[in-house]
């Protein structure tokens, strides 16, 4: 790619050409280990994405039975046995942190594993290329057809129509699956088919259909090269031990055609294994030459490894001329030393420890989180009220959270000023000193609670008061502390 350009070929403009044309990439089909891995991961990722909304999970009567559901109107998130409220969104924060560090770990072990195998951009682009190959034929055919695009024949036209139709169907299905995560999937599918779904659902499907179609069908490697920040970040995160898809130039150079190589060998002259067949370039989905070394445009999908292996096997040379390797080992081999691979090193250990640590904290927080909670807010104005008999009263707004899927009866006890009386506005207590309240299932109840300290026991200064909420049936307890203020 660094071939000198003759000045005569340049566009004659004031400040040079304003843009570079998108180079056309026609990846050739290939088979091998990494292609199989990519097919497998693609099937898994897309399978999970498209089918997960249909998985059911019984949560009891009145609760949604969708395993994974983002219930925006009721602000609840359901994930199998987990139900999260909006204030628990920090679990997602934790999850995102773990995801980021996992990305770092992957990167320090095996380079751009995310980019090459798991990134939605890669997965969908790969799928779209597969469709393209199926309809239009392999690399050579597509190149030929593209070169002859000036003379559009009916067959070519129908081919393109078919390709874009399939692309649009996949794109539409992608958008369709997205909205299913936000609504009961079977119901929404029925509504969508009968055109009775909410407008918003159609709008979102349209948006995601458009993005999928454009990003996977047209933008492709441009997204990775020009739009995505990750290649820039990962370049700063990598180190010399990380395994990357590498052309082992110690073995490959000097590139020589098969015929000439045999000739030179018989004469005892040094020759490389690379026969300059350009198969690695032909299969590359970003259209680069891996032999130029590690580069931003390389998403490290491993397809060039497969392509090269096929050729090496055919000509009876050792495979993995291109493979997961690093410069350290290239230099070691050049110096006649055996290669060393160090997966366990400070960087990977620290990343793993961070993942384990944050994961453990999150798991602990999730397992020990309370399904009954109480928050207390002291009245701001007035902070304290003197009653006619000289007793002092403080008022509190008490917010009770019942995260269980059933109604429950709770009792409120306070531990504060001596002989203080607690009263809930609007609730006629059966037990005068211990108000009992029914908390509706999966909801928040707000109460106005009055605490009165009798004149004889008026505290001289502010004293802490503890509000203890007890589930009469289950014995679950939650508590909150505030202050009892004197005027």
């Amino acid at each position: 790619m660094n071939k000198p350009v003759k000045p005569i070929d340049l566009q004659l403009e004031d400040d040079g050409p304003l843009y570079v044309a998108q180079k056309k990439v026609f990846p050739q089909s290939v088979s091998g280990t990494y292609r199989r891995i990519k097919w497998g991961l693609m099937a898994f990722c897309l399978g999970v994405y498209y089918l997960l909304p249909f998985v059911r999970w019984n949560r009891g009567l009145g609760a949604p039975d969708q395993a994974v559901l983002v219930d925006l109107p009721n602000s609840r998130f359901y994930f199998f046995f987990i139900e999260l409220w909006p204030q628990e969104v920090y679990y997602f924060t934790g999850l995102l942190i773990v995801a980021a560090i996992t990305l770092f770990l992957m990167n320090s072990v095996g380079g751009r594993i995310w980019c090459g195998y798991l990134c939605p951009q890669t997965v969908w682009t790969d799928l779209f290329y597969a469709v393209e190959r199926l309809v239009e034929g392999d690399r050579r055919e597509r190149m030929r057809k593209d070169a002859a695009r000036g003379t559009m024949k009916l067959q070519r036209f129908s081919e393109l129509l078919l390709k874009h139709s399939i692309w649009l169907m996949i794109a539409w299905w992608t958008g369709g699956a997205w909205v299913l995560y936000f609504n009961d999937a079977p119901t929404l599918v029925k509504q969508l088919v009968t055109f009775q779904a909410p407008m918003l659902a159609y709008i979102w499907i349209a948006i995601l259909t458009a993005t999928t179609y454009v990003l996977a069908g047209f933008m492709r490697e441009q997204v990775c090269v020009y739009m995505c920040p990750w290649p820039r970040i990962q370049a700063a995160l990598t180190d010399e031990w990380a395994l990357n898809v590498t052309y082992k130039y110690d073995r490959g150079e000097k590139r020589t055609s098969l015929k000439k190589a045999n000739e030179l060998r018989t004469r005892g002259e040094p020759v490389g294994d690379c026969i300059d067949c350009y198969q690695c370039v032909a299969v590359c989905p970003t259209g680069i030459d891996i032999r130029d070394g590690a580069q931003l445009d390389c998403i490290q999908c491993g397809l060039c490894i497969d392509a090269c292996d096929v050729v090496m096997a055919k000509i009876g040379r050792e495979t993995r001329l291109i493979g997961y390797d690093n410069d350290i080992n290239i230099h070691r081999r050049q110096a006649g030393k055996p290669p060393v691979y160090r997966v366990v090193r400070p960087r990977t250990v620290v990343y793993s420890a961070m993942i384990a640590g944050i994961g453990a904290v999150m798991l602990y927080a999730l397992l020990t989180r309370t399904l009954l909670d109480v928050n207390v807010l002291h009245d701001r104005n007035p902070v304290a009220v003197k009653l006619s008999d000289g007793s002092i009263r403080n008022a509190y707004t008490v917010r009770l959270l019942n995260k269980r899927g059933f109604d429950r009866v709770i009792a409120i006890d306070i531990d504060g000023p001596v002989n203080a009386i607690v009263h809930v506005v609007g609730a006629d207590s059966v037990t005068p000193d211990r108000p009992m309240i029914i908390l509706a299932r999966d909801t928040t109840t707000e109460l106005r609670l009055l605490v009165t300290a009798p004149a004889a026991n008026n505290p001289e200064k502010s004293t802490p008061v503890n509000f203890r909420v007890t589930d009469i049936g289950l014995g679950e307890v939650a508590s909150a502390t505030d202050n009892f203020v004197t005027p």
């Binding site: 660094n2 071939k3 000198p4 350009v5 000045p7 340049l10 004659l12 403009e13 004031d14 400040d15 040079g16 050409p17 304003l18 843009y19 570079v20 044309a21 998108q22 933008m219 441009q222 020009y226 009245d379 701001r380 104005n381 007035p382 009220v385 003197k386 009653l387 006619s388 008999d389 000289g390 009263r393 008022a395 506005v425 609007g426 006629d428 109840t445 707000e446 106005r448 009055l450 004149a455």
Partner: protein
């Protein structure tokens, strides 16, 4: 139009011809779709000028073909809100006062609505939480001039106190000093008697029997024989710990000399009946309600 003939041998690219201390800038053009997108955003921006309000004129601005106005949007939203609220407020308006407090949903609605209305209309005098100040009663305590039951609070809010409304609470305290009913020393004596009713300290030289006599002759008709007050007349209980204007001798002397006649406007006609109902429940639920 200059030709880019300056060629960088290391990178194999041409340069822009710009040079700083021998360092030359490589000619690295943007991708075509990027440039096109950039121009499209400019074209798109022009669309805003046409569709939305954009250009300031001398006294106004261009309104755009959509005639969009954020102010009009707010008006529509507010109208919708009133519509939604309307249905709920009808339910609230139909429910008896005592039932509202027993129904958690209605109570929550009445408290929420009441709190807003209180903040808009009542807080200037009674304070944001109904905490009151000198001359304006604290609505959180259990001392009520005109009664603290739901019905009594409703009555007071509807018609006010000395508001000029036909049904308003009218009676006021006589200005005993100004009107010449009591002399200065008599006022001081009865002020001390009043202090003694709630166990407050009494100044030296106070004549107890004179105090009782003056009180019996002048005050009991409203405040009662024992000074317990009378909610029919808005006469406060003088034996408790709550003082609307203050319990020190000087303040009491001022009160007895000039009388007291606090005013509260009538809200009927200004607020709709169901809003007044919500306000009643809110005030009652502050804690002092009977």
């Amino acid at each position: 139009m200059t030709e880019h003939s300056d060629f960088d041998n290391v990178s194999g690219k041409t340069t822009t011809g710009h040079e700083w201390d021998g360092i030359k800038e490589l000619n690295t053009p943007l991708p075509r779709w990027w440039v096109i997108t950039f121009y499209l955003t400019i074209v798109w921006a022009v669309g805003y000028w046409v569709v939305y309000p954009a250009w300031p004129m001398l006294w106004s601005h261009t309104s755009g073909i959509l005639n969009y106005s954020s102010r009009a949007e707010v008006a529509v939203d507010l109208a919708n809100l009133e519509k939604i609220r309307g249905d709920k407020m009808v339910v609230l308006g139909a429910a008896p006062l005592a039932e509202i407090e027993k129904d958690p949903a209605l109570l929550a609605l009445a408290r929420a609505r009441g709190k807003t209305v209180f903040g808009d209309n009542c807080a200037p005098c009674h304070g944001s939480g109904g905490s009151g100040t000198k001359g304006y009663p604290n609505l959180n305590d259990d001392e009520w001039l005109w009664g603290g039951s739901l019905d009594q609070i409703l009555q007071t809010i509807q018609f006010g106190v000395r508001s000029g409304h036909a049904k308003a609470h009218e009676s006021a305290m006589l200005a005993f000093g100004k009107e010449g009913v009591l002399k200065k020393d008599q006022i001081v004596t009865v002020a001390n008697y009043v202090r003694s009713l709630s166990g407050l300290s009494i100044s030296a030289g106070y004549d107890g029997s004179a105090g009782v006599k003056i009180f019996t002759d002048n005050c009991t008709s409203c405040h009662g024989d024992a000074g317990k007050g009378n909610q029919e007349l808005g006469a406060p209980d003088l034996t408790d710990k709550i003082w609307l204007y203050g319990s020190d001798e000087a303040t009491l002397v001022e009160t007895i000399t000039n009388g007291r006649a606090g005013v509260m406007p009538a809200w009927v006609g200004r607020l709709d009946p169901s809003t007044i109902k919500a306000l009643t429940v809110y005030v009652h639920s502050l804690g002092g309600g009977k």
